[in-house]
Symmetry: C2
Subunit: 327 residues, 2 copies
């Protein structure tokens, strides 16, 4: 069962998808479905004995193609529609142990090419309005498979958070004629004290109003709506920025830091999105070595975040961690 139900109270879709309750839950390492299939052993999701990078459709998706028929009848006020979309799994490496940051830069560059390809191909489908590339990392985030991997959700609508960002950016453009993300990046570069690292094409910083103590934004210096417009040199820079950032996260407390990594880019609904400026957001859960930031009633019920730290101090910690991670 899978369908989209309209939350009339908030004006957003909920993906109701009961099949997912059965999804694989912390299997032992020798039954990892994301490892290559060893000769004579149990067949994983990847029937080959080896691979470089693999993308396949999630066996426990929230969005379906072809879509399933909804099980309830909606109303005018509370409509329901088929959950027509795609959910893909991106396996970063055949090695069971590892992480995004531990991949070689060459492999991370090839992964960036895969992301670019998936954005283009899924975005070109006429029923796909938004391609969300992301990685959930760590059991604290809810991850049920430890093998290094990310995911892609291709939605039949523009989700509310990217929609909100684009709306705010459009209002800023109307007022000033400029790109909001470019303006914020210029401010961060001018202030400097929240910048974590820079390379040729990308800047990583902790935003002025960070919601999580170690939240970072990974932003291209040039205003690119999406991965689709990036050349290979930019993808190399992106790969290097992601590698340095995630290695720094693990160096912070000398533990694999639980995080969410989220790509925001232009919707693929066929409209023009002059205010989209590609960026990657990291939402790490840690607020110290042994404490997590919880999103409790204030965050979930009011929508405002409480950050128990100064972004300027956390950026200093992150810069030190970047250096330690680089040896």
């Amino acid at each position: 069962m899978s369908e989209l139900r309209w939350n009339a109270h908030l004006g957003e879709w909920t993906m109701t998808s009961s099949g997912r309750m059965e999804r694989t839950y912390h299997p032992p390492a020798d039954f990892c479905p994301l490892c290559p299939t060893a000769p004579g052993a149990f067949e994983t999701e990847i029937p080959e004995p080896d691979f470089d990078l693999v993308v396949f459709e999630n066996r426990f998706p929230s969005l379906f193609d072809p879509p399933l028929e909804p099980v309830v009848a909606g109303t005018e006020l509370s409509p329901v529609k088929p959950s027509h979309g795609r959910c893909e799994v991106v396996v970063y490496t055949p090695e069971h142990e590892g992480s995004l940051g531990a991949l070689s830069l060459e492999r991370l560059f090839r992964l960036a090419l895969v992301w670019q390809d998936r954005y283009r191909e899924l975005g070109a489908l006429d029923f796909i309005d938004y391609v969300l590339i992301f990685e959930n990392r760590g059991r604290e985030v809810g991850v049920t498979l430890d093998h290094p991997h990310g995911q892609i959700y291709a939605f039949p609508f523009v989700p509310p958070i990217p929609a909100r960002e684009l709306e705010v950016a459009a209002a800023y453009r109307a007022r000033t004629g400029s790109c909001l993300t470019c303006a914020l990046l210029a401010e961060e570069l001018a202030a400097g004290n929240r910048v974590v690292l820079e390379n040729e094409h990308f800047v990583v910083y902790i935003p002025f109003a960070a919601r999580y103590p170690y939240e970072t934004m990974v932003v291209p210096r040039t205003c690119r709506p999406s991965l689709a417009e990036m050349g290979e040199d930019e993808l190399w820079s992106l790969a290097a920025a992601l590698k340095a950032t995630t290695l720094a996260y693990d160096a912070l407390f000398d533990l694999p830091l639980p995080y969410m990594m989220i790509f925001h880019q232009a919707p693929t609904d066929g409209r023009s999105w002059p205010n989209a400026h590609f960026h990657v957001e990291f939402h790490p859960l840690q607020r110290s070595a042994d404490k997590l930031k919880y999103r409790a009633s204030v965050e979930s019920g009011a929508g405002n975040f409480i950050n128990d730290s100064l972004p300027e101090e956390k950026a200093e910690e992150m810069r030190a961690a970047v250096c330690r991670a680089a040896g």
Copy 2:
């Protein structure tokens, strides 16, 4: 240090508040700061040897009155302002063990009077635009004190989630002339299969597009903007509805169910809010006896929830739990 920083990217305030990092973290039961102070023992937050219900200012607030001076200078694009507001703690009972549902109905009614009083008194302050009454329950939600208690945040702005609800309700009113919450309540009562319980003045149901498997809405039948407009009979009904709902939550899996309980009501910014219809939302984290619903990248980065269950089936479970809890 405490200040409000403007997240220009999303158009919302972050409460940056570094003093909270030092807050009391899972003290042993005999050092509970929310217990009454026993003669000769360490002094808790409540210097009396006994009490009925107590409200006091949070020692580790996110909002201050008088406000602190911001530590950073903002910019036109990323302004900062003093975090002028109030954070209060509401202790439900002098007993260290217990829960909202385990309170006697009489005590819960008096608690409803306390909430009404705090809404009125905090809302009347000229710098308070929104009074958020809530309870975080359970360590999985991030609670650091086990003693039964709730909290109140009195904000100097209308937070984005209530603002969004009111905006959606205003658009509905403009289109139809009616209250959205009334219309949704009428639909739920007509459908019946997601209704969990009803009493004279309140209805509890799992919303059609529930974000959490066991999410409930507690809604007054009469369109009341806030607690301030409710008579004593309505507060008795509210108390009874909250008691039955929270006892049912604990009966579901025979464990103290972690949840967030959030009151949404009319802002107190002096404007007229004809579309506010008081309601309480419960966001429980459990998706089964031993599994939690995580708000990972799709929820945090896109804003849409994945609900791995059918609200109609969960409402049936809840109705059975209501009966079990009532003995």
